[in-house]
């Protein structure tokens, strides 16, 4: 698993070009979006809408002025902070984030909600800042900014349930940030530097940082914030949310833990377990949330497989995932906007009045399922191929299983239950034009990348001559997908397929939301009982102390009694005696 060439060498090698001279005319890549966000906070609605579209374009234009090796640092309180470090990995993610911000911006045009528009722009800017952060302190800053800005997209729904969900989301992400800060401090202590580079698992810092990133990355058991919060956001908020937070985490993972073997197994677990939940989940956006964890699993796996095809696959899949998952979330958002409902049990038959949305949704579904000629195919297969190449049989089989599962729940279930299935009787209007435009662009990109993957491959951090379209591969993939679909059809026709039911399915956040409060209550009761038991038992011994304490706690009424002064005098005498004793002993020695 030796990583032959790391980004560290790439960046810190001879190609470092310190930014000065004419290049200073360029803004820090995060600034266009952040500035636009601040301006939007004060701007009238029309200007806000213009900013939503123009800011990502301006930002992307600004971004194109940078090349790998650019470095900007500043000194703050004795720390050398690397505000900007450009290499291919960061560049690709930044480009992706601008693209995502543009799509979401177009998608947001029908809305006048200042809170969401401002939060969305700032959120995208924070993500760009995070991928260009050269050291852990700057990363921490943007990491927390990501959390703080994004939570408003959840709160913007202005419902009790989403407010509480947002609070939980914020709590988790602030915790992740604090862990990152602790990790940074440990890193400083252990290595004397804050530069964020590839590290080997082993040092305390590396484990703490992995945990911090793992929370944002939805590692198993740490994943519940995603499926809790994303369905709680507004139709627009979820589109933003799906693009930035987890992808920033994938970036951080690729930067710091490339080729760490445990990630392969973590990624495998992430690809596997959510698909079961996705099958029985009713809220279609939560289904997409589970499917998102599953997709991130492929990326984590790719990062774990290491330099070359593994990381390339992970990064390329992150790129595609933002587009096709964004497309799916957009289509579900349109459904939510038009019908006010999102549960599979309440939807169906929408193709009749929302045919364009349905069609675009199916393009996204085909992409996520990795149909040949769609974008998912060209990136997911890289990870699979690398897993096979490195000889991980179990992992490969699990990923194959997950691929079939993805098609099953994201590829078929989402469009089927929303747009077809039984007729819900709902006859909503077609999605607003701006939404259809955003979805249309995303769908075009899905197909374009699927048909001409080389443009994407050229942006990847490692040189590659990977060719996804060989006959064997295409045939195998088609067989897998068609027979997955066959299973669905068969189970549906025989009525074995579980119906969509209004329900809550327990996930590990049950421990935090149910078990922990109850356990705490029991513990508090038990602890209280023990505590009082101990107190009662020690009452005799502690009589003197307790009388002092009781006197301290008593209200003012005792003033008339002379004994408080007497006690103080007694203590003065005692202290004097004690000091004399000490002095005597000290001098006697």
């Amino acid at each position: 698993m030796a990583a032959t060439e790391t980004h560290a060498q790439y960046v810190m090698g001879e190609t470092v070009r310190l930014l000065d001279g004419p290049l200073q005319a360029l803004l820090h890549p995060a600034l266009p979006l952040l500035v636009a966000g601040v301006v939007a906070a004060l701007a009238p609605p029309r200007l806000r809408k213009a900013l939503l579209v123009l800011a990502p374009l301006w930002g992307a234009w600004n971004l194109l002025g940078f090349t790998s090796g650019d470095l900007v640092s500043a000194e703050l309180a004795g720390f050398e902070l690397i505000l900007l470090r450009v290499d291919k990995l960061a560049f690709l993610f930044a480009l992706l984030f601008h693209l995502a911000a543009l799509l979401a911006g177009i998608y947001a045009l029908h809305s006048d909600d200042r809170m969401q528009q401002v939060a969305g722009l700032l959120y995208a800017g924070s993500a760009v800042g995070a991928v260009f952060a050269g050291d852990l302190l700057v990363l921490f800053f943007f990491w927390e900014l990501l959390a703080i800005t994004s939570v408003f997209l959840i709160w913007a729904r202005r419902e009790t349930a989403s407010t509480r969900s947002g609070l939980r989301y914020l709590l988790v992400h602030i915790a992740s940030g604090v862990l990152l800060l602790i990790g940074a401090a440990l890193h400083w202590i252990e290595f004397g530097t804050l530069v964020f580079e590839r590290m080997d698992l082993g040092s305390a810092a590396s484990w703490v940082l992995l945990l911090a990133i793992g929370i944002k990355c939805c590692f198993p058991l740490l994943h519940t914030w995603l499926v809790d919060a994303y369905p709680a956001a507004t139709e627009l908020g979820t589109v933003y949310l799906a693009s930035f937070t987890t992808k920033t985490a994938v970036y951080a993972l690729a930067r710091g833990y490339e080729g760490c073997e445990p990630l392969i197994w973590i990624g495998m677990a992430m690809a596997m377990f959510p698909i079961f939940y996705a099958v029985i989940e009713n809220d279609l956006r939560r289904v997409l949330g589970y499917s998102m964890i599953n997709q991130i699993g492929f990326m984590v796996c790719g990062v774990g497989l290491g330099a070359g095809l593994g990381v390339n696959g992970a990064v390329a899949h992150a790129f595609n995932d933002v587009i096709f998952k964004g497309l799916l979330f957009m289509s579900m958002g349109a459904v939510l906007l038009r019908t006010g409902r999102i549960n599979g049990s309440e939807l169906g038959g929408l193709y009749k009045t929302m045919p364009q949305t349905a069609g675009l949704c199916m393009v996204g579904a085909a992409s996520i399922s990795a149909f040949p000629l769609f974008s998912g195919f060209v990136s997911k297969s890289m990870v699979m191929t690398e897993a096979a190449h490195e000889g991980y049989v179990v992992v490969w089989l699990a990923l194959l299983f997950a691929s079939a599962g993805v098609f099953h729940h994201a590829g078929i279930k989402i469009p089927f239950f929303a747009f077809f299935a039984h007729d819900s009787g709902l006859r909503p209007k077609e999605a607003p034009l701006n939404m259809r435009v955003a979805m249309g662009i995303a769908a075009l990109l899905c197909i374009a990348i699927g048909c001409f993957p080389n443009a994407l491959y050229a942006l990847l951090p490692y040189a590659t001559d990977y060719h996804p379209y060989d006959t064997t591969h295409v045939v195998q993939q088609l067989q897998l997908l068609f027979f997955s679909a066959l299973a669905f059809v068969t189970l549906m026709l025989t009525g074995i397929y579980p119906p969509e039911l209004r329900s809550t399915n327990l996930d590990v956040d049950w421990f935090a939301r149910r078990a922990a409060p109850r356990t705490l209550r029991v513990l508090a009761a038990v602890g209280g009982a023990i505590w009082y038991g101990v107190l009662a038992g020690l009452a005799d011994v502690l009589k003197v102390v307790r009388s002092v304490v009781r006197w301290l706690h008593s209200p003012a009424g005792r003033l008339g009694e002379p004994w408080p002064t007497g006690t103080t005098v007694f203590w003065a005498a005692t202290l004097l005696g004690l000091l004399l004793l000490f002095s005597y002993l000290g001098s006697a020695l």
Binding site: E159, A161, S162, R164, S165, P231, I275, F276, Y277, V279, I280, R338, T339, G340, G348, Y351, K352, M384, H389, V393, W396, L400, F401, A404, G405, H408, F420, H422, D423, G425, L426, R427, P428, K429, T471, T472, V475, Q476, L478, Q479, L480, F482, F483, S484, L486, A487, F488, V489, T490, L491, L493, G495, Y497, P498, L501, S503, T504, N505, L506, R514
Partner: protein, 126 residues
């Protein structure tokens, strides 16, 4: 059965309202499956793994069978999981959409049948 609902609503019949169309689609799908399966005989495939790591992969129809079995397994296991994991919607005391206002676009006003009627057809699969 959804046809009933829509005809009650008085709007035009859509493509999949006709069971015949659905039947045609299913037949086309089965044909596709058969063709894709048959492709295994037409091509010489090169295996993903080198050497003898996973010989079963080279079996005819491996991917087809794996995909089918995986999905059936997935659904059956998930169905069992419901017995353990499923709770009422307001288990945590908070339900999304509970305090939501009217949806944008006025879907309810424009064409939606009264609740009771439209729900009758819910259990059928198209």
């Amino acid at each position: 059965m959804s046809a009933d609902a829509s005809s009650k609503n008085g709007d035009r019949r859509h493509l999949w309202d006709d069971p015949k169309n659905v039947q045609i689609l299913i037949w086309v799908f089965w044909a596709c499956c058969a063709i894709v399966f048959a492709l295994d005989f037409a091509f010489h495939r090169h295996p993903s793994f080198e050497g003898e790591t996973l010989p079963i992969e080279e079996m005819v129809g491996f991917y087809s069978i794996y995909g089918f079995v995986a999905c059936v397994l997935l659904v059956l296991v998930a169905k069992q999981m419901r017995k353990v994991l499923m709770r009422s919607e307001d288990y945590y005391g908070e339900v999304l959409g509970a305090t939501a206002g009217e949806p944008d676009g006025g879907a309810r006003d424009e064409g939606r049948a009264p609740d009771g009627e439209s729900r009758e057809g819910r259990d059928g699969g198209d």
